[in-house]
């Protein structure tokens, strides 16, 4: 059973970046007004940020990382480890983390690797990075998470209104005696088709046929290099698995859910998150949402929620936080973490940052 702890690592800072372009769901005329209103209320997304063509997840993560490094006043040569968690990487190969190592001006002695995970990516990435750091081999590390999901079909009502684009950075430091992080991570590959881009990978290489649009029901038209989402399957999976996963973690840590200052969930959709909240009896005021203005931003959603909803709190207080991510894979997990007066800059807007400070391209 994958329940374990990683000692001696602290989070020093969290930052997030979104593109400037905002899409409002009230303007999503692909569906009727009544359905649109109902959809907005249920998924909880009024608007979200979408990249312009040509901007990738790595660009948003670059800005988050560059800004955070400056805020922390870190010497770039001291960053030993860079992990890029995303399912929208720059190329099928090489790993995007390698490109970001160069763009961010990190040293050649820096370990850089990609972790290919989505909704559970923040929890999984954190388990990988803190496990690598726990014994003191790495002193400073960056985890970049996020996705550009707006490339899905505009004529697919199950996908388009839900997803937003974002890229985040989380800074980790080795600190002997830092409060342990505890993880409970799980997988069920049987459900791999529930959220999938069916073609374009090595299992089925893209062909002309891949790009042929097809109708999959009322209001659902897409091709086979678009993401497909089986809403009911994912919904049922989350209602079935997330609460027991968290309960097991809390049994292991011997804590009650009410002891945490905040419970930050992956921003899947409002109905799903709120149902799980009710099942676990979590107070509403301890359960922040960023869905309304940012949508579901995949592995960026937990840090984005912290930056946009808890900035003042995390900057000034010592907080005990429970996190959970769940979705594509199917993959899910929860973890505990202490945030002790961390650096948390205001959310970056990609185009504004680029204009003000410039960005490195290679």
């Amino acid at each position: 059973m994958a329940i374990y702890s990683t000692p001696n690592v602290r989070i020093s800072g969290i930052s997030a970046c979104v593109p400037k372009n905002i899409k409002h769901n009230k303007d999503y005329t692909w569906i009727s007004e009544k359905e649109r209103k109902n959809l907005i209320k249920t998924i909880g997304v009024e608007s979200k940020h979408h990249v312009k063509k040509g901007t990738a997840t790595s660009d948003l993560c670059y800005v988050s990382a560059d800004g955070l490094i400056k805020e922390l006043d870190w010497d770039r040569s001291e960053i030993d480890l860079l992990i890029f968690v995303s399912q929208s990487r720059d190329y099928l190969l090489p790993a995007t983390a390698c490109i970001l190592q160069e763009r961010l001006g990190l040293s050649h002695t820096c370990v850089a690797l990609d972790v290919n995970m989505g909704c559970s990516g923040y929890n999984y990435g954190m388990s990988v990075i803190t496990s690598m750091m726990s014994n003191g081999g790495f002193r400073k590390a960056l985890m970049l998470t996020g996705d550009v999901s707006s490339i899905g079909s505009h004529r697919d009502k199950t996908v388009f209104p839900l997803f937003g684009d974002a890229g985040t950075a989380t800074a980790f430091e080795y600190k002997k005696g830092a409060t342990d992080m505890h993880f409970n991570l799980q997988t069920d590959g049987k459900g791999y088709k529930a959220i999938i881009i069916p073609e374009g990978g090595f299992r089925s290489l893209p062909s002309n046929k891949s790009f042929k649009y097809k109708s999959y029901g009322k209001g659902i038209i897409r091709h086979r290099v678009h993401v497909s989402l089986d809403g009911i399957e994912v919904f049922n999976f989350s209602l079935r698995e997330v609460a027991p996963n968290i309960k097991k973690l809390l049994k292991y840590t011997d804590q009650k859910i009410g002891e945490f200052d905040y419970v930050v969930f992956h921003q899947a959709n409002y109905l799903m998150n709120n149902t799980i909240r009710r099942m676990l009896k979590i107070d509403e005021e301890k359960f922040p949402f960023s869905l309304k203005n940012y949508g579901n931003t995949s592995s960026a959603s937990i840090p984005l929620t912290i930056v946009t909803q808890l900035k003042k709190e995390v900057e000034t207080k010592k907080l005990s936080i429970l996190m959970a991510g769940y979705g594509v894979g199917l993959s899910w997990g929860s973890n505990t973490v202490e945030l002790d007066k961390i650096t948390c800059p205001d959310i970056y807007i990609y185009e504004d940052y680029k204009e003000k400070y410039g960005i490195n391209k290679i």
Partner: protein, 77 residues
Amino acid sequence: MKIEEFIALLEEEFDDDIKPGTLKPETGLDEEMELTSVNALILISMIKVEYDVTLNAKELNKCNTVNDLFKTVQKKL
């Protein structure tokens, strides 16, 4: 579990669309309740929270009326 209670819960959950007292066991889910994909999620969530019963897409698709839905939930209790 009685069907009257089940109907009352449905009317409460979908109070924007359904007037109290208008839902009947024979009401059709698709046409009259307009069970769109989003409403299906609301329904699944309600049934999970109220009865701790999980309905999958296949089971839901087999239900044509409120009564079908009630019976499906009842079987899984």
